[in-house]
Symmetry: C2
Subunit: 200 residues, 2 copies
């Protein structure tokens, strides 16, 4: 079956748009999606950036937020309502996400966390907020956090981030087809799915 890897960061605005859209689009295209959380921070650091380029270049950032508002409306998502902190530290969310994708609730958790962050002005960078999200999904936060903070899981996230950089990934979301074709950005989701379907 056709395969598409969906590389994303829990603090990334356009990853939110892609996460909310990818399941329905992939089903229609008959493509199997593999959700791959990673950390943009180390990738940005390699470019000499210590924060998001949307903060470093204010005109670019202002356009991004306006674009996010317009696209949220266009996609039928809730009205954008962002927290004053951007980007938020996403390492704990990503560690939990890895457990979620292992256990089968990863997509639900990811959509909940991204929606909280960009449509409800929520914080996702502390254990309390993440515990709340896990409870909403009827999960046991204590067990999940202990798995997430296990050294093996932490190492797995570092490895995934290195893999992303090794693939030439420089932003999020990025889609990589089974055949290795890389597409950057929410704008390319439909095209990436088409490509993956044609490969199969």
């Amino acid at each position: 079956m056709a395969r598409l890897d969906f590389w994303f960061d829990y603090a990334s605005t356009y990853s939110y748009l892609a996460a909310m859209r990818i399941e329905a689009l992939a089903e229609a295209a008959n493509v199997q999606v593999h959700w791959r959380p990673f950390l943009l921070g180390p990738v940005f650091a390699a470019s000499g950036w210590d924060t998001s380029p949307f903060n470093i270049y204010p005109a670019k950032g202002e356009n991004m937020w306006r674009d996010m508002e317009r696209l949220s409306t266009r996609y039928g998502l809730p009205k954008l309502h962002r927290s004053e902190v951007f980007p938020q530290h996403s390492v704990l969310a990503a560690r939990i996400g890895l457990i979620g994708f292992r256990e089968g609730w990863g997509a639900a958790f990811t959509k909940a966390i991204l929606t909280a962050q960009f449509a409800k002005a929520g914080r996702i960078d502390d254990a309390f907020a993440l515990e709340h999200a896990l409870k909403e999904l009827d999960l046991d936060p204590e067990w999940v956090l202990s798995e997430a903070l296990d050294e093996v899981n932490k190492a797995k996230l570092r490895l995934e981030t290195e893999r992303a950089a090794g693939l030439g990934i420089f932003g999020a979301p990025t889609f990589v087809t089974g055949g290795g074709e890389l597409f950057w950005g929410n704008d390319r989701l439909e095209q990436a799915l088409e490509w993956a379907a044609e490969e199969a």
Copy 2:
């Protein structure tokens, strides 16, 4: 009538894609397009860049060229065939473009120059290449170049570039509707036209 300003730079890859598509799409949307050449160089310099970010960040650049190949195919444009120099100095082309839009052959000149640069590996940064393009359009290169190099025209290009920066433009192409809504990137052309049409 609905209006859309199309801000572009003659050295910009995605400006090429937009220039080749905008006329048919604008006609279908019943939107009047105003082509506005400007120079990205001074805008990039304000961000501390002395060349294209596609050169400064190699992974981003590699992705851009692959994306350009795929999109050229998708849009039915000629196969991408680029010159080894990128970005090329676009100031003379932009000065000629301003004369062209005053005289009624601006779009034809712009499409020819961008196609030469990205589909025929051509140079656009010297008078000889530009004279050749003008001759192909049955224009008098000597007259055009003297108009282009007139101090009033040079000042006009500087003013247009300042206007672009003043609008918050940070990349090309950028589309600005009659109502002042700004859309960045070839990816947003269809959406910008829709927005402009709805305003009118």
